[in-house]
């Protein structure tokens, strides 16, 4: 174990995989000479050369499509988006090409590609740079999606994503890059589709993913001071989805809050609620409550931005709601 930042853990995962497999290369804006817009690829140009660590022009559609084409021949591109906000320009290649290629070709052409970068809001970046993009990706059969919340998960999940034979989106967070944590040394891979219980408690379940895991843990600490013990279940992987882990926590606490950074309409939480009512309806003692970003474009003003983002307080109150307690 070594303590390192989330940023360095991602770097370690890429290096781990590039060392073991020559078919892995990294392409994106500013990934090479500049060491990455968020310094995730620091030192990689020097280590692997400009054929494997490649600065692209600002052409999201173009370089995402180029990476898809390369993956169609069996290479394993890591396609970095400076943020997933910018990947909206590339969605044609993600959805129409990467996600559908294997099916359209009757299994002839797998597309083993990773799309990675930060998703969601940082601080006062306003409407066009603060969007959580999970649902755009996870909506399409053919795509897989992981959302590491900790440095260890960042290393293990990114490594698994690179080894996976399908398109995998790895959604990170600007505010996560400096988070420090213990990361296993040596080769480390976390299988996709395995949720992680980040905190245990029998009174209420906070199910969440990505950066919101940290908000959930804050809320759980506050609740603990009131004598309420919360499970914090980090899905880690949205597709494949660890349904068993969700059903287990529901069966144990009977009260669920889904917390996510994205918008509520057709959000990841909507799917989880649907799943719970289909498969664990009788386990519920209260309707599932969802906490999400306000259903508005992200405002710039600091006070409005804070109101729009999910907060520990809003999660605490959601938990109190499913426990039929008055708001704190």
């Amino acid at each position: 174990m070594a303590e390192m930042t989330y940023r360095d853990a991602l770097n370690a995962a890429m290096c781990q995989e590039m060392d073991r497999d020559d078919s892995v290369f990294l392409m994106g804006e500013e990934v090479a000479e500049y060491d990455g817009a968020y310094k995730v690829s620091r030192g990689m140009l020097e280590r692997y050369g400009d054929q494997r660590v490649v600065d692209s022009p600002i052409s999201e559609l173009g370089f995402a499509g180029l990476c898809v084409g390369a993956a169609m021949t069996g290479l394993r591109p890591i396609c970095e988006f400076m943020t997933f906000n910018f990947s909206l320009l590339a969605l044609d290649q993600v959805i129409n090409s990467a996600a559908k290629m294997l099916y359209m070709s009757n299994g002839q052409i797998p597309v083993p590609i990773v799309f990675r970068g930060p998703t969601g809001a940082a601080l006062q970046l306003s409407a066009q740079h603060s969007q959580a993009c999970e649902t755009y990706y996870v909506h399409a059969p053919g795509v897989k999606l992981v959302t590491p919340a900790t440095p260890a998960d960042a290393k293990g999940l990114l490594a698994a994503a690179i080894r996976d034979d399908d398109p995998v989106a790895v959604m990170e967070g600007e505010l996560l890059y400096n988070v420090r944590g213990e990361v296993p040394d040596g080769e480390y891979v976390i299988p996709l589709g395995v949720a992680d219980l980040k905190r245990s408690g029998d009174d209420v379940s906070i199910v969440t993913h990505g950066k919101m895991v940290h908000v959930a843990l804050q809320a759980a600490s506050q609740l603990a001071r009131e004598g309420i013990e919360a499970d914090v279940l980090d899905l880690r992987s949205i597709r494949p989805l660890d349904v068993d882990a969700i059903l287990e926590t529901v069966a144990r606490t009977n009260r669920v809050v889904y917390l996510e950074e994205g918008w509520p309409f057709a959000g990841v939480g909507a799917q989880i609620v649907s799943l719970i009512q289909d498969e664990a309806f009788d386990d519920l003692d209260a309707p599932v409550v969802r906490v999400s970003q306000a259903d508005i474009p992200m405002p710039y003003a600091k006070n409005l931005e804070q109101l729009a983002k999910p907060s520990a307080k809003s999660v605490v109150n959601a938990c109190r709601q499913v426990l039929y307690l008055p708001a704190a």
Partner: protein, 375 residues
């Protein structure tokens, strides 16, 4: 519109369509042997009869969805693809039946795909717009205008990454050059000197919109801003096209970097089977004039006959062969099984992960499985 076509015709007529000045000797035509000429004629006739058979099958409901015929543009399928090596890669858009056959997909496998049968080259999952066969280097078959262009760059990237000497030929229609993907891809190809030849099958119209209505520059000018050399050729002259691609592929193989080919051609049918041949966007007379004067098959046939390299009997035999292969393909397709319903969820993912659910509903129990209802 008239201007664009007029300009195009001027270019086409300006090239060497007239046979009067051609050197023809008993050995062949423009350096092509008698056998090579017969093969090219047979290829193009096969493409024509195949498409006519597809047209017929579509009319009686054997083929569904969209179906875009290549009739009139066969010179490009034969002339641009036949000079390539087996391990060269071709990627294209959705008017691709004949290109698929030219690269090596059998007429049976292509027709069966149009019929949506298991014996189709995409197992019935792709249809007319998504023909694939990696074993012959045919990488599809893509339905979003311009979507194949960045992937074409990526195929070429992979060739270079592995140190191979193949080339990638990436076809598109004229309308595709107005997509951002075109500019982005040509630029990246130029930066990295990728071994890719972008070919615009310039038939003058994107569906029903003349190129002149959506571009104030000539087609040739489109690649210059990215530093990709442009070439204009007469795609109705299969011999010119063949020699041109033979030469260009060799140059690209040797490291010449990306190329842009503006291949002038004409579509004799509507945009798809659902669309009229002529109408508000082009006159019946214009179409008729092209069919009578610019048919790539007629042009080659006449030249061969004038050079004494083809008799009427030989022509009839070649055509009968093409019809027979096309009829056989349709019979084969019709007799082939439809996909097994149990395969509905196959090939969505290459790797069904050991943990977690990949599908919601339907796929049943086991890894990745769906669970009850539509949860």
């Amino acid at each position: 519109m008239a201007q664009a076509i007029g300009e195009m015709e001027a270019k086409v007529n300006g090239t060497e369509l007239s046979t009067a000045d051609e050197e023809a000797d008993a050995a062949g035509l423009e350096g092509f042997s008698r056998e090579e000429l017969h093969a090219l004629l047979a290829d193009m006739l096969l493409y024509r009869r195949f498409e006519e058979k597809a047209e017929e099958a579509y009319a009686i409901g054997k083929i569904g969805g969209f179906c875009h015929l290549h009739i009139g543009q066969e010179g490009l399928a034969a002339g641009a693809i036949k000079p390539l090596r087996g391990d060269d890669l071709v990627i294209t858009a959705y008017r691709e039946h004949t290109q698929a056959i030219a690269k090596g997909i059998t007429p049976r496998a292509a027709m069966a795909e149009l019929y949506g049968r298991t014996t189709g080259c995409s197992g019935g999952r792709g249809g007319s717009m998504h023909l694939f066969d990696t074993s012959v280097g045919f990488m599809g078959g893509h339905g979003i205008v311009g979507g194949q262009i960045p992937m074409g760059a990526g195929l070429a990237w992979a060739i270079r990454y592995r140190g191979g000497d193949q080339v990638c030929v990436c076809f598109m229609g004229d309308a595709a050059v107005n997509q951002g993907a075109f500019l982005e891809s040509l630029n990246m190809s130029a930066i990295w000197r990728l071994p890719v030849i972008y070919v615009v099958e310039n038939n003058g119209y994107g569906m029903g919109t003349a190129f002149s209505r959506v571009s104030v520059t000539d087609m040739e000018a489109r690649s210059g801003a990215c530093g990709v050399p442009a070439h204009t050729i007469n795609g109705q002259d299969v011999l010119e096209t063949y020699r041109f691609f033979e030469d260009l592929a060799a140059k690209v193989r040797a490291g010449a970097g990306p190329q842009f080919v503006n291949a002038l051609t004409y579509r004799f049918r509507g945009h798809s089977m659902s669309d009229p041949v002529s109408g508000t966007y082009r006159s019946k007379e214009e179409v008729e004039a092209h069919i009578t004067q610019q048919d790539p098959i007629t042009i080659l046939r006449d030249r061969m006959m004038e050079a004494g390299l083809l008799t009427q009997e030989e022509l009839e035999a070649i055509d009968a062969g093409a019809r027979s292969i096309s009829d056989d393909a349709a019979d084969f397709a019709d007799a082939s099984p439809v996909p097994d319903p149990s395969t509905l969820y196959d090939h969505v993912y290459a790797e069904i992960n050991e943990h977690g659910r990949l599908f919601l509903g339907g796929r049943g129990e086991g890894p990745g499985g769906g669970g009850p209802a539509n949860g």
